[in-house]
């Protein structure tokens, strides 16, 4: 008898592989949508990087490559067997599903749900599935984050530090998750080890990249600085793009700093406020980054939403789950349509898609707000739900 977890992992792997190989053109089509690919995560830009690397052309001197050197090198390595790429991505996605189930196992007593439920939710989440099929490199980041979280919860802080350093190397926003991770560590010494180890690993990764990029730091500008300056204007589901297209030149530096501060603003408050439930603080921080980062994809959103089943004990406290889910469905269904109206047909204008990106932002923020409220509620009730009690805040 195969355990249900193995079945879920196999199903996850098979579904992704099946979609990739049954619809071979789907990968390219998804990679061109603004919902699943951004300049910093698109598979095309990775291919371009590998091409330039293999032809001895400048990879990071401007251009379209915004992926870190190690990823580009990996892609160049895989170039002769590119048809196996879907297998790699499907395997990574299944690994994430597997890790989610392991986390659920750790919390089985509190959760009171079978541990395979988060796995099923992840495997069946269309956002995650399509993101995996599009071969967006945000999957690498998600895998590193979930691995790091699993190791931290299991008490392997050194491994957790290494994984979060890898995630941070791929996408610097993951470094922000170090703060809730330190909360998970619990003890000061473990926290110090985590911080030190991740710093060392990050340095090593940067040095390796530096040497791989012909002893040139110019990849920093194309891969990290672009996240802060938002220099590649391309529509996405985030809050940044239309704001900086329409903003008056004079105010752009000011608002760029505001938006960057906005990203980090709630990391520390969440970690401090929920220091008794550091895992949940971690998830809320993840959600906040998904909402505020400069180049979000639906892959990020799907990854965040995959953690919602872990909030099972507080589901009763949610105030507007219906509104949140409707907002989310509304955004996801209408965004490709409105984008096509604007870009493809020309019968709608940019405001249509902009409105949808706002709705998506509202959806994610309402999920975060609702979960935060529920967390506060259950904290007030000291873990014993008393749903009839009416509470307020002053």
């Amino acid at each position: 008898m195969v355990s249900s977890e193995t079945q879920v992992v196999c199903a996850c792997f098979a579904s992704r592989l099946a979609v990739s190989y049954l619809f071979p053109s789907l990968q390219q089509q998804l990679d061109r949508t603004v919902e699943f690919s951004t300049p910093v995560t698109s598979y095309r830009s990775l291919q371009e990087g590998a091409y330039l690397l293999l032809h001895n052309l400048p990879v990071y001197d401007g251009g379209v490559v915004h992926q870190v050197p190690l990823l580009v090198a990996l892609m160049a390595l895989f170039k002769p067997v590119e048809f196996l790429m879907p297998v790699l991505f499907a395997a990574m996605d299944s690994l994430v599903a597997f890790q989610l189930m392991r986390i659920a196992k750790l919390y089985q007593r509190q959760l009171k749900i079978p541990s395979y439920i988060p796995g099923i939710v992840y495997a069946a989440n269309p956002l995650v599935l399509l993101s995996c099929v599009s071969q967006s490199t945000c999957l690498f980041v998600n895998l590193s984050i979930s691995t790091s979280l699993l190791y931290a919860l299991q008490g392997h802080f050194s491994l957790a530090a290494q994984c979060i350093a890898v995630a941070g190397y791929l996408s610097p926003y993951a470094y922000l998750l170090l703060i809730p991770l330190v909360g998970i560590c619990g003890t000061t010494s473990a926290g110090v080890i985590l911080l030190l180890k991740s710093t060392v690993v990050s340095f090593v990764l940067q040095l390796v990249s530096f040497s791989m990029n012909n002893y040139n730091w110019n990849y920093m500008t194309s891969t990290y600085w672009i996240l802060i300056t938002f220099s590649k204007m391309r529509p996405n589901l985030g809050l940044w793009w239309y704001f900086f297209i329409e903003m008056f030149e004079f105010f752009i530096p000011f608002f760029k700093s505001v938006f960057n501060i906005f990203v980090i603003s709630f990391i520390l408050p969440f970690s401090i406020r929920f220091n008794q439930q550091p895992f949940y603080a971690f998830v809320l921080c993840l959600g906040w980054i998904t909402l505020t980062k400069s180049y979000p994809t639906l892959g990020d959103g799907g990854f965040f939403l995959s953690f919602v089943p872990f909030f099972k004990p507080v589901f009763g406290y949610l105030r507007y789950p219906v509104i949140s889910s409707l907002l989310l469905i509304h955004a996801i269904v209408l965004s490709p349509i409105f984008y096509y109206l604007w870009i493809g047909l020309g019968s709608g204008n940019s405001n249509f898609f902009y409105a949808i990106s706002l709705v998506y932002g509202l959806a994610i923020s309402s999920v975060i707000v609702d979960l935060t409220w529920a967390m506060l509620r259950i904290e007030y009730d000291s873990g014993k739900p008393n749903l009839s009690l009416k509470l307020t805040q002053i």
Binding site: R44, G62, G63, F243, F262, L291, S350, L391
Partner: protein, 643 residues
């Protein structure tokens, strides 16, 4: 005078082995001989040239007392389908100057004679050693008309094209000089050349290399030469550009063949090109230098159309009796099928250009020359006053000050001199739909029996994000691979708002074949203020340049393209600021409240509110005041309160 050592930095593809006579300019035969004369003359005279008096043998006449290094030619070539190519060519040279100008500036009297006064200072201030400027517009039908005049070396892509060899201690300094040069030329030619900035400028690697056999002089041994190029495809070429062109000529369009240059006629054509090339030429041993300048104006006019417009400036339908009807087909007094165009042609160029040639240039060393390149069935006559002359080679010298006119007549205008076939046909098109991405497809057709080697130069604006990995080859010949066509690639990727994509590929096109190279690109969104006022018109993409190196030297250009970018809503700035900020504020504010406020039951909250609400505060204040008043009245009250 110091002896300068010359460093030849930009070496040429082929080495000069021939004698002096062999180093000719790549123009057609007629011009070659004249050019040689000028050059030989120059070399003979050497530095004595500043005396500006011709060698003794010629008679000095009062009407023509001094003669300068100025030469002008007019070449008239009928093309198939009743087109006529008129090519005005002007050559001039500056006086010599010493290289180390600081030494000389104060005590040497400088005279610019026939060389245009504004050009010299621009060249010297920006350390420009070679300057090439092209204003071209229209379509050259290479299928019908064959090769471009001067093998395409004297015409640019649609719009303005500028490239220069600039001396500078560093690339940055050279770039500064380049910007200065662009701004100066912008003022000089009334064109928007000042829009050239780093985001449009490239440093070509194997295209646009200087063609002259001599090395470009380097005035300072510590600096080096930089070849810099930019093009503006959206620049309309118009009369305000021609007027400064004519002003650069010593004759100012008042005499000589330049008197034909009238903007209304030159630009009323299917294709026209204005070009300027300035070279710095130095003597190896003396260190004396001079500028030599070539100014070409070329235009292709449709003869019947131009004649009709001269007859009827305001277009009106022809009268019934003037219609040339095909009587074999049904017809009546009002409508009929037209006869095929007449092959009989009989016209004067004064009718095409609106006026006659006002005599000779008066100051050239050699007389102005008019040549017609026609087969034997054409009769070409020059008309001086009332007299008509013919010559064997259809070339005429304009010596007198009488008005001159050229008369063409033939019974079969379809019979023209066969032009050499273009070694390669290049065309380029945008593919795909949608405003967020697209493709660029270049088609190369080699009609000849030998392989064609070329350098294909493309400079694309930064808002086209090129995916070089998507480069694909389409060809009927399945054996052909990308590697066998593309021999080498130079790629400098675009940097946003800083520099364009610069692609130079060495290609070999096999004989008698057609192939297409294509790649994909993403279109970027621009910032709201970066769109031009007519944002939905699209953005012109400059022509690609194919420099053919073998079997013959030739430059072909593709047409320019129009790229549509998606646009934001230009009326939205305030709305976007408000709406985005609202969403951000909503998320931030709610979370901030949740995290920072205390959680209470409703009853507790009511109780606390009751004691902290403004009303309660007012009541307490009132109580305090009353208490104070009472304390003033009675002491026991105070004691009671203190307790």
């Amino acid at each position: 005078m110091k002896l300068h050592s010359w460093i030849s930095v930009l070496l040429l593809v082929y080495k000069v082995t021939a004698e002096l006579e062999a180093d000719v300019f790549p123009v057609d035969n007629e011009v070659d001989s004249i050019q040689q004369e000028v050059i030989q003359e120059t070399r003979k005279n050497g530095t004595d040239e500043s005396s500006s008096v011709p060698p003794s043998s010629e008679l000095l006449s009062l009407e023509d007392p001094v003669q300068y290094n100025f030469q002008e030619n007019l070449n008239l070539t009928p093309l198939p389908n009743n087109f006529l190519l008129a090519s005005f060519q002007f050559y001039m040279q500056s006086e010599t100057f010493g290289v180390n100008r600081n030494e000389h500036e104060s005590n040497v009297y400088s005279h610019h004679t026939v060389f245009p006064k504004p050009v010299g200072p621009i060249m010297s201030q920006t350390n420009t050693r070679q300057l090439h400027l092209r204003f071209t517009h229209g379509l050259w039908d290479s299928q019908e008309w064959g090769q471009l005049p001067h093998s395409g070396l004297k015409s640019g892509g649609n719009g303005v094209e500028l490239w220069a060899v600039i001396e500078g201690p560093s690339k940055e300094k050279a770039m500064q000089s380049w910007i200065t040069l662009a701004n100066s030329l912008s003022g000089l030619f009334c064109a928007s050349i000042n829009f050239i900035d780093s985001s449009k400028t490239t440093f070509p690697v194997s295209s646009f290399l200087p063609t002259e056999d001599d090395a470009i002089p380097l005035f300072n041994e510590n600096s080096s030469l930089y070849l810099i190029r930019a093009a503006l495809a959206n620049e309309p070429i118009c009369t305000e550009n021609l007027t400064p062109f004519v002003k650069l000529l010593p004759t100012r369009g008042k005499s000589g063949i330049s008197s034909l240059l009238d903007g209304h006629k030159i630009f009323d054509s299917n294709w026209h090109s204005l070009s300027i090339d300035v070279n710095t030429i130095c003597e190896d041993n003396t260190g004396e230098c001079h500028y030599s300048m070539e100014e070409f104006v070329e235009t292709v006019v449709n003869v019947p159309n131009s004649l009709a417009r001269a007859d009827r400036p305001i277009p009106k339908p022809l009268g019934g009796d003037e219609l040339r009807c095909d009587t074999n087909k049904p017809h009546d007094a009002f409508q009929c099928f037209p006869l095929p165009g007449s092959r009989e042609v009989d016209f004067n160029i004064s009718k095409l250009f609106g006026k006659k040639i006002c005599g000779s240039s008066l100051l050239g060393k050699t007389s102005s020359k008019i040549c017609a390149h026609v087969p034997s069935n054409w009769n070409v006559m020059v008309q001086v006053g009332d007299l008509l002359f013919t010559t064997d080679d259809n070339c005429f010298n304009v010596n007198s000050n009488e008005p001159h006119d050229v008369h063409f007549e033939t019974s079969d205008s379809g019979n023209v001199l066969i032009s050499k076939e273009t070694p390669l046909h290049v065309s380029r098109a945008l593919t795909g739909y949608g405003q967020d991405r697209g493709g660029l497809r270049s088609v190369f057709r080699n009609p000849s029996n030998q392989p064609v080697e070329l350098v294909y130069f493309e400079s694309l604006p930064w808002f086209m994000r090129v995916y070089l990995s998507s480069l694909a080859l389409e060809s009927d010949d399945s054996d052909l691979t990308l590697d066998s066509v593309v021999k080498s690639t130079f790629y400098s990727p675009a940097r946003d708002r800083e520099r364009p994509t610069h692609l130079e590929r060495k290609l070999v096109i096999p004989p008698n074949s057609t192939l297409a190279l294509s790649f994909q690109f993403d279109k970027s969104l621009l910032k709201y203020a970066e769109y031009p006022p007519d944002a939905n018109h699209g953005f012109e993409i400059e022509a690609a340049v194919a420099t053919i190196t073998s079997p013959e030297r030739y430059e072909a250009r593709s047409s320019s393209l129009l790229l549509y970018l998606s646009t934001p809503d230009f009326s939205m700035p305030y709305n976007v600021i408000i709406l985005t900020s609202t969403v951000m504020g909503l998320a931030f504010g709610t979370l901030f409240n949740l995290i920072s406020k205390q959680l209470l039951t409703l009853e507790e909250a009511d109780r606390i509110l009751a004691s902290t609400s403004p009303k309660a505060k007012l009541l307490r204040l009132k109580g305090k005041i009353i208490g104070l008043l009472k304390r003033n009245n009675t002491k026991p009250a105070k004691i009671a309160k203190s307790e």
